[in-house]
């Protein structure tokens, strides 16, 4: 481990430095750089450099379940707040997804014509926030980065967005803030509990995990607060209605990042914080989350089916897809949870690409109405081909990335929730329905709209934006092992941490109660929750 290199810090702050330089270097001033092309190239270079750093991080990452490349420095020592970052397989995978998508998005930024420099600034700032969120090991640091993701996205949608952007941005921000402030209260509560028990304050995740004891009731409330914040971000039904609006109004790059990375933060938050900190609270909510996930899968698919706005359709498909991720997560076994994380990557790639594709159409025709298209396959064959590939990836055709994720999730969660998973299979069918309907209505049929007659096929630059994603679709579908190999130990660590902490808390609480009122314990023996996770996984443990 080369923690002396501060690899993660460089990774996180390189985009920020780039963003600041955009404004400091006079070369990029709009009066000099009339069309923003220099700024574009510069920020692309920054994003590629960030990608290179993330590859270095990957190279120095060892395949095991531990936190690696850990850096730690005191930040606000009197509060036990530290700047602590580190990655395990899960966060590294998501970091790589971010750093891969960002150059793609910046390449696609050519559709932004006004205030280019500000756009690039916000994008790079957003990248810093996302990477920070994924690497943070201190709850406070996490919260700061989590909230920092808000402002740039807000500006990106608000300034470069569509006609209803104001409603969309306010909805997006208020929804998110509403969730995250409650998470803040919960964080403060946990830290308070920690301070009560240890006499000092710490926001460091590992400290909180190791030494905070919470009663079952506390856990339930705290998990609820975290789950609200993360559930809104995911988004879990019924907290999803900000997503279609935000997506529809966002500029292409914004949509890609929103779908590609931002939505992943919810699941990531569950994995890194929600479940390990409050295992028994989480357990109580698992049936709820699972039910909502399945509702989301079916509901999102059904609603996507009747959309006439392409972006809205893809947005609702995200609701459905993220439902799978939640399902896989709450199944809490290695197969399903690994699949869940893998599906996060897939969704980032395929849905990101779909939004890029919609962006390509929108740039040319300035409409997202399905009825405005039709028969495009004859006019723009390369586009149609790309659209097809990403559509297939989205509906999880074998040998594309989507299949691996979906199969792992469904296989794994079938062991835990046979009924729910069977219902979730409806999503597999409905996914084909809405995506192929979209494909048919846009690409097939007569080229009957006169305006589409002058459409041009994707340019070389646009092909360049799709190429990395195209490669990833097939690579991750054909040979996912390099990624799975890194995810699995991290997921195992996650699961065993959850289980261990659950047991620890259980024992402490039982012990405490035994000390206080021995007779109470006998009365409650059967009713005390908390063994479920252990029991359920042991059911078919041999297979998991």
């Amino acid at each position: 481990m080369h923690s002396s290199w501060n690899l993660l810090s460089w990774l996180i702050f390189t985009p920020l430095i780039g963003a600041v330089l955009l404004y400091l270097i006079p070369l990029f001033h709009p009066s000099v750089d009339r069309h923003g092309s220099k700024a574009r190239w510069f920020s692309l270079a920054v994003a590629v450099l960030t990608f290179a750093i993330s590859v270095c991080a990957l190279a120095s990452f060892e395949v095991n379940g531990s936190m690696q490349l850990v850096e730690r420095a005191a930040w606000i020592p009197s509060f036990g707040i530290s700047y602590a970052v580190g990655v395990d397989g899960i966060s590294l995978a998501l970091i790589l997804l971010t750093t891969v998508l960002m150059p793609v998005v910046l390449l696609a930024s050519y559709s932004v014509h006004s205030k280019v420099r500000a756009y690039l600034f916000h994008m790079l700032l957003l990248e810093t926030a996302m990477l920070g969120t994924l690497a943070a090991l201190d709850v406070f640091l996490f919260y700061v980065f989590w909230e920092l993701m808000l402002a740039p996205m807000y500006f990106i949608i608000g300034i470069w967005g569509g006609t209803r952007r104001i409603y969309a941005t306010l909805k997006f921000v208020l929804y998110t803030v509403f969730g995250s402030v409650l998470m803040l209260a919960a964080i403060l509560y946990v830290v308070w509990a920690y301070a009560q028990q240890t006499g000092e304050m710490s926001f460091l995740l590992s400290d909180l995990l190791a030494r905070t004891e919470l009663s079952f009731k506390e856990e339930v409330w705290l998990f609820a607060a975290f789950a609200l914040a993360f559930g809104i971000k995911v988004p879990i039904f019924p907290f999803h209605t900000w997503l279609p609006d935000a997506h529809v109004e966002a500029p292409t790059g914004g949509s890609v990042i929103l779908a590609g990375v931002l939505l992943k933060m919810g699941i990531y938050g569950f994995i890194r914080f929600g479940f390990p900190l409050f295992p028994r609270g989480a357990e109580l909510f698992i049936p709820v989350l699972c039910g909502l996930a399945v509702i989301g899968i079916v509901y999102g698919a059904l609603v996507a089916w009747v959309q006439t706005d392409i972006k809205k359709l893809v947005a609702y498909s995200s609701v459905s897809h993220l439902g799978y991720c939640v399902l896989g997560l709450v199944a809490l076994n290695t197969v399903a949870t690994t699949g869940s994380v893998y599906q996060l990557l897939n969704h980032g790639i395929s849905t990101g690409a779909l939004f890029l594709l919609v962006g390509v159409l929108y740039d040319r025709r300035h409409t997202r109405d399905v009825a405005e298209y039709g028969g495009l396959a004859a006019k723009v064959p390369v586009f149609a081909f790309l659209f097809l590939v990403f559509t297939l990836s989205s509906i999880a055709l074998p040998l594309t990335n989507g299949f691996i994720g979906e199969f792992l999730i469904l296989t794994g969660s079938y062991v835990t929730f046979p009924f729910y998973t069977t219902v979730a299979l409806l999503g597999v069918i409905l996914g084909a329905v809405y995506m192929l309907t979209l494909y048919m209505k846009t690409m097939f049929g007569q080229l009957d709209q006169a305006k589409n007659g002058s459409l041009t096929d994707v340019s070389a630059r646009e092909v360049a934006t799709f190429l990395p994603l195209l490669i990833l679709v097939f690579w991750m579908g054909l040979y996912p092992q390099p990624i799975l190999r890194r995810l699995e130990p991290a997921v195992d660590t996650f699961l065993s941490d959850v289980k261990a902490r659950s047991q620890m808390l259980e024992e402490r609480e039982m012990g405490f109660m035994a000390q206080m009122r021995p007779q109470l314990i006998r009365a409650q023996e059967g009713a005390v929750p908390g063994h479920g996770i252990v029991q359920r996984t042991s059911l078919k443990e041999s297979n998991l």
Binding site: A378, L397, G412, I429, L436, L484
Partner: protein, 625 residues
């Protein structure tokens, strides 16, 4: 059983490379696409044949291409495996496939997107070969979905007509419904046995009577998958629509190979079905119904391809009947012979369509035997074969099916064996009848169209002849060889006693009756069909309108679901959730507006408020202390 390593991956690899090459080269040189694709297909056939030649009935060739994915104990290798069953299927796929490729070079010569066509066709070959060579359920599933994709692409090949594209979508979606069931079966198998490999599963399951309950469920799930791919009730509706694709596609995918995947899968998983007599009983009933319904529907269709499509559905029912009786080898036998004659029929129909300038309605044909004699001859042979008349290929397989059904030992079915045989026999009679009808309407009488029919080029007619020869001798050739070859893989019932030619001819009476009646009805007694139709009008309309199944599905499934979706979106999303979100915003805003009234701007009001608040504080403290 001997497992040996072999370069099996080459078999699917040829068409895969061919697919890419045909597309890239074909964009520049239109003719090259067909040649490359055909070559790839032939190479695959040759390589299969070479491997086949070296193997015995007990050989299992194996090729672990790479370790595909694995998490915890779910480790899936990309394994290809060829045993006797796989070899037979492989030979059929590559053999028939090659012929159809050659045919297509002529058939599709004038199409603008010929490179796309051949690319898809080769991609289909690739997927189909993965399907039959897959050594575990997941590789099979890759092929399973892959052929579905290619089917989708090829049905919608002429995508400018939105109906064709819609037919492609329908095929994919209906297949997906089946696939969901298939996946469920896979989940159950993995959950209980921790593996998806066929050999390992077989070792764990075969003959273990304690697993009957599980196997019943698993088999049902798998069969749901099969009903999708192999067009059985209730999921058969996509296949007739799939005729929107170019005719060679119908021949290859929707008759000879892909649609038999369900039977192949069932044969492959025979060890599961063997423990699931209840499921097998369901299979019998479904297959019987399918065979009958499709045959009756085919009676009154006027589109030549629709007749063949329903005939295919019906014949697939026959295959499932055989399989459900435990006679898997018979099912495979029928798969093979059906591939011969149905491909021949479809390609013949294609030749007719090609000759009549894309006319598909048989009412605008007639008397074509004079214009296209080779097509006629081959079509005739194939018709006789499907009618089950000795010595044509269909006779042996159909006879074997009836034999198997007679001796079905399934406890749930056995009491009704004779009824089933009777209905199947009747269906076979219908088959002979409607096929003769199509033959007569197309080739006999006077030409009723306006085009100038002509015989197809050599590439097409040559292939027709080859398939006709196979339809003629295939059954006789395979009748004894196939069971011997397959006996180590599939349960092969003791072969029935060999019969004399006279006996065989006597056993063909059903087919002969059908053919004769058909000929009478549609040549000399031309007024009779109309008379019969008007006599039994309700039934006639029912048959003509395909039992109203599409309408039924539209009415009870598609439209309600669409309505529900729209309702959910409007009521739940925009109404309820957004209503709650915007509503809580409005409540906050309104409460702000109401509270604003306190800020009246009048100093004395403010003073009063402050005084009241002070009093409140003082009183509060007085009460507290």
């Amino acid at each position: 059983m001997e497992r040996t390593n072999a370069a099996l991956a080459l078999i699917p690899l040829f068409p895969l490379v061919g697919s890419v090459a045909a597309f890239l080269v074909g964009r520049v040189h239109k003719r090259a696409a067909g040649i490359i694709a055909s070559l790839a297909s032939i190479l695959a056939f040759v390589w299969t044949a070479k491997l086949f030649a070296a193997m015995s009935a007990e050989t299992v060739l194996e090729d672990v291409v790479f370790s595909w994915f694995g998490v915890a104990s779910l480790q899936v290798d990309f394994t290809l495996r060829m045993d006797a069953l796989g070899a037979v299927m492989c030979l059929v796929v590559t053999g028939i496939g090659s012929l159809i490729h050659i045919y297509s070079t002529a058939y599709m010569a004038e199409d603008d997107s010929v490179h796309r066509f051949f690319s898809y066709l080769n991609l289909f070959m690739f997927s189909m070969l993965l399907l039959v060579l897959g050594g575990n359920l997941l590789v099979l599933f890759v092929g399973w979905e892959g052929v579905g994709l290619c089917s989708y692409l090829l049905i919608g090949f002429w995508f400018r007509t939105i109906d064709y594209a819609a037919a492609g979508r329908k095929a994919f979606v209906v297949n997906r419904i089946g696939d969901a069931g298939f996946l469920l079966g896979i989940f159950l198998l993995w959950m209980n046995f921790g593996t998806v490999d066929f050999l390992e599963l077989e070792a764990a399951i075969a003959g273990n009577m304690t697993l009957v309950g599980l196997c019943t469920v698993v088999a049902l799930c798998l069969f749901i998958g099969a009903t999708g791919k192999s067009a059985q009730i209730p999921l058969f509706v996509w296949l007739p629509d799939a005729m929107a694709g170019p005719t060679p596609v119908s021949a290859l995918i929707h008759a000879a190979t892909m649609v038999t995947a369900g039977i192949y899968m069932m044969a492959r998983m025979d060890f599961v079905f063997a423990l699931a007599p209840f499921t097998l009983a369901i299979v019998t009933i479904v297959a019987l119904l399918t065979a009958f319904v499709a045959a009756t529907t085919a009676l009154l269709q006027n589109d030549i391809k629709k007749v063949l499509a329903y005939s295919t559905v019906s014949q697939l029912g026959f295959m499932f009947l055989a399989a459900s009786a435990g006679a898997y080898w018979v099912a495979i036998f029928h798969v093979v012979t059906h591939a011969f004659f149905k491909a021949c029929l479809f390609l013949g129909a294609g030749s007719v369509i090609h000759g009549c300038h894309h006319e598909q309605d048989m009412r605008h044909m007639g008397g074509l035997s004079r214009y296209m004699p080779i097509t006629f001859a081959t079509y005739l042979v194939a018709t006789l074969a499907i009618a089950g008349i000795f010595p044509f290929a269909g006779y042996q397989s159909k006879h074997a099916i009836l034999g198997a059904l007679e001796h079905n030992v399934n406890p749930y079915i056995a009491p009704y064996n004779s009824w089933i045989v009777a209905l199947v026999t009747f269906t076979a009679f219908l088959t002979a009848f409607y096929m003769t009808r199509s033959l007569a309407m197309t080739f006999f009488g006077k030409y009723r169209g306006h085009a100038h029919p002509h015989e197809s080029p050599a590439a097409m007619s040559g292939v027709l002849v080859a398939l006709a020869v196979l339809s003629l001798f295939g059954g006789w050739f395979l009748e004894t060889r196939l069971p011997n070859f397959l006996e180590h893989v599939l349960a092969v019932a003791p072969g029935h006693a060999s019969e004399t030619i006279v006996e065989s001819l006597l056993h063909s009476w059903v087919g002969i009756a059908g053919v004769v009646l058909g000929l009478l009805f549609y040549t000399s007694l031309a007024g009779v069909p109309g008379l019969v139709f008007s006599l039994f009008k309700p039934i006639g309309v029912l048959f003509q309108r395909k039992w109203f199944v599409d309408e039924l599905y539209q009415a009870i499934l598609v439209r309600p679901l669409e309505g529900v979706s729209r309702g959910l979106w409007k009521a739940v999303d925009q109404g309820f959730i957004d209503g709650a979100v915007n509503g809580s915003g409005a409540v906050i805003d309104t409460s702000g507006q109401v509270l604003r009234l306190t800020q009246s701007g009048q100093v004395r009001h403010y003073a009063l408020w402050m005084f009241v608040a002070t009093i409140a504080i003082v009183v509060f403290f007085l009460v507290r202390s």
